[in-house]
Symmetry: C3
Subunit: 416 residues, 3 copies
Amino acid sequence: AAHAQTPPPPTIQPMNGAPEIRDGEQRFKVRGRLQYDVYSNEWDAGVDSPLVSPSVDAEDGSRSYVRRAFLGVQGRFSDNWRYKVDFVLNPGASGDDATTGDAAVAVDDAYLEYAGDFFSVVIGENNVTAPLEDRTSSLDIPFLERSSIINAYGYGRAAGVAGLVTGANWMAAIGVYGDSLNNSDSNFANSEQTSISGRFTWAPIFETSPDGVTLLHLGVSARQRYNGDDALFRYRPRPLNGRGSRWVESSSGSATQDDLSYGFEVAGQWNAFGFTGEYITLEGETPAGVQVESDGYYVDLTWSLTGEARSYRGNQGSFGPVVPHNPVTEGGWGHWGLIARYDFIDLSDIDAGTARGEQTAYAFGVNWVPIDHVRFMLNYASTEMDRVVNTFPVAPGISAPDAEADVISLRTQFDF
Amino acid sequence: AAHAQTPPPPTIQPMNGAPEIRDGEQRFKVRGRLQYDVYSNEWDAGVDSPLVSPSVDAEDGSRSYVRRAFLGVQGRFSDNWRYKVDFVLNPGASGDDATTGDAAVAVDDAYLEYAGDFFSVVIGENNVTAPLEDRTSSLDIPFLERSSIINAYGYGRAAGVAGLVTGANWMAAIGVYGDSLNNSDSNFANSEQTSISGRFTWAPIFETSPDGVTLLHLGVSARQRYNGDDALFRYRPRPLNGRGSRWVESSSGSATQDDLSYGFEVAGQWNAFGFTGEYITLEGETPAGVQVESDGYYVDLTWSLTGEARSYRGNQGSFGPVVPHNPVTEGGWGHWGLIARYDFIDLSDIDAGTARGEQTAYAFGVNWVPIDHVRFMLNYASTEMDRVVNTFPVAPGISAPDAEADVISLRTQFDF
Amino acid sequence: AAHAQTPPPPTIQPMNGAPEIRDGEQRFKVRGRLQYDVYSNEWDAGVDSPLVSPSVDAEDGSRSYVRRAFLGVQGRFSDNWRYKVDFVLNPGASGDDATTGDAAVAVDDAYLEYAGDFFSVVIGENNVTAPLEDRTSSLDIPFLERSSIINAYGYGRAAGVAGLVTGANWMAAIGVYGDSLNNSDSNFANSEQTSISGRFTWAPIFETSPDGVTLLHLGVSARQRYNGDDALFRYRPRPLNGRGSRWVESSSGSATQDDLSYGFEVAGQWNAFGFTGEYITLEGETPAGVQVESDGYYVDLTWSLTGEARSYRGNQGSFGPVVPHNPVTEGGWGHWGLIARYDFIDLSDIDAGTARGEQTAYAFGVNWVPIDHVRFMLNYASTEMDRVVNTFPVAPGISAPDAEADVISLRTQFDF
């Protein structure tokens, strides 16, 4: 009688990108994405003098490149035992420079997970304790690049162990991490950086209906980092582009060996209208014992011309894709969205570095999602990068240490 | 009644390499290839004098390496919205040197496509306007390496937007391109190279029957390049091998900042017999304003001992694989083919470079395809590399600037 | 009537990791693995003097890294024509340094195979003639790292052609190889290294029952290498860790241009208890004509607390995974195993190098396999690294040339 009981054969789920194959509790799916960017940069240092560092005036140009190309898999050995590995394959890497992120091969998520109904343990490269914008996939963030605070304060994935407890509209996570698996491990005589971090999110309002979403999201996060024998921590935002120079920064002399940061999140959605705001404050200490401080924030406004709301994952505290109501394949316009951002970071109180200062940016964007998994993005960002210290011997009245950057970017993106 | 209409489940197409899964209009397929080459090189500079640069006499050796290893995917989100990404994974990369093509990670095709019945728009890395031999997959070219004109004039993929209109036996394409996504983007202050290109092909004779193919293919292409702030264009053929030194070349002093090239194609197939010829002429200008000129051509003859014709894609103007009539798995011999090539490039009128000259090559090959997707290739190429300027103070009557290369190569190839 | 015969549609095999799709004789399966290691190193040079090279005392630290991340495919074009490609994607590569194995992209197996019932021909990167521990997958070796003799004598994969004949409990293989496809091929003027190797294994006792396995495995192997124009061969074991410094080694002055090694294998399994021992002896010659000698061995003892035997592949002469009888998903404990190793290599008779000496290691481990395809490993290894020559002018009676290393490692591993 036992052998009369044949398990049902494996099946292929209805396709949404790449097909997922299931067999009992087991699952397997290939994953990937491509982001192809074209952008034009124009920097203005407020003076056209040969005395001004050429790195300012010279940052004018147009380039195209792969911002992200991923190939990976996701699967389950059972309902509880799950895994995900996304390889970052960078065709334009200028070297295997892990410190700049410009390596030929890296990983995004790369973890084993033991998941129950309301909890989860994640082992490997992950970012489950990172702030809202970092937790939202690069496929779904409204602008091409994340905000200055997310980039400058070094959020992103690292390798470690994290535990989560989750509900339909809340989550709490705590993690202990080493450095990222993408960091070069050439020196095995040194201990690597470590961090402890946590995040709690709660959506006191979260209602979905066929017509839209009503949402209020609140979140807090904290992270304590220690550099170990690895490089000191530096804080260096770009003018809302993905590559190139950084005008305002904590110089190497004001880099810290440990830092503690707190993040505060608020986001809302009322059908076609949405907003997101995050504020992060950071304190660190240099090897010389000097205390440094920095903080910053951003505010996003999003308006879906075609009416779709951003999707929200209550048990992750993050946003998902905007799926068009009427894709072009069904005679519609797809999703069209307008977005605006105000972005600010204060790196003035970063010890005595000559490049310390403030950066303020305004950004606007148009997003078109003709069909789920395909997105075109057009961004314009105007950034003021104001240094505190005038290091150039230019004429009086000319604010040489202040620079301005105008960046126009166009992204073609698809994922599967 | 609406919910009574269950969509049919996804299906797996009959396998031809890797399986393709379909769900309504959606499709997904993993792709890949491996080309494992063993080759022996013997260079002869016509003189065994220590006065002759050692790079000539020394290019004697035998090596094995991966010529190409790809892993990628191809799919459709709908009939119209399609994508393809082939990652080039190079296990023997000597560095992430994108300028020499010897990077650990690169992309081959990497694009999003909107395809109608008779037209198509391609966004991303592609080569839809490239000449015949470049448009034919590296899996299907008759020799291990493409001709001198295709390699020296810098054809191949780049990132941009291209539009195509196609019929059963013709195609017309035009594209606007930046540089390749594989080029290193370390300097974001410089504008990258750009190009405009187009191609038109027509097969006035194109008949297929169970016994074979009768084909006459005609094609023209044109390309205008401008280097922007990127490196100048150099023209450097190899002696029909895939790696190593180049004896005849435009030196860096005769590199151009823009060039314009025209290509002319003719190819035919009469069942087991085929030929292909391409002629390309190029004019460029150096930064000093000097006009440089180059042209070249090749002629291929192919004879299928086992009778199969090359397959031809009328709407792409390119050749596909030779599929054996009687694979060894059905008791046959597979496909056996003999091929011969005459290859010539004139780089004499390239300004004043000391390495300018002519290169003439004869190549012969035997191809065995025991079963579709597996191919063994044996090539012999004899190349004369004749420089114009004698830069070596050798004895009178000894043509030191002329070198000869004999290359024997064996490729084992499979794809899925 | 012929067209009435419709071939059956492709099917998906019951999943065991990633799904395998079959269509008649054709097969296709995606493959991959991730090994995420955390380890702590403590070296002790027996003296805390500044006169001792800092590379000894300084090798103290804790790091995490990806030991192996693979993504590949495996398939068949027919029963006989098969292929396998496993790409090694290294997110923490410190450079594309193929000579140290620290490249961003490499291949593990990468071959085409023609397989009959009792024989096989393999073309491409493979290790079918390598000794027992090298033939056993990195997923299934009992410790995190292979033994000193396997690593120091340069076993592993290379590209070439190998032929095998096999029975249910024996195999004989011979291969002719060039260098590995992962070796950098920047210098095409030099001939690469070559080798001839063979292996024969026989299991005079090999009985499997539902309760366990009774096994006696015997094996011999031999390899003759010649370096060609490539780098000379050096012999450098690590203290049973995967990265970092090597204290005992043949210095570059005692590197050889050819060597000949013989390996002897014996292994057994009696249900939950197993052992493995290998002895290898090597003779080589330096360019100066000096004969050098080395040998070494290891002995492993394995005890499965939960009763499972190691699986054995009689026709490959290698061990496979330990599959838990009672995985945690069915309420069991999974597989728990205890392992112990004694490891020795004698590099004293390696010409006149100042770093020559002996290395002796004891290692202990606990392995937990909660469910097939997931494995956690905890290793402790204590290694004595005793140089023959005292090169440090330290105080009398202090054995400065001797160092000790304690390594604790934790691996999280999954594969599909």
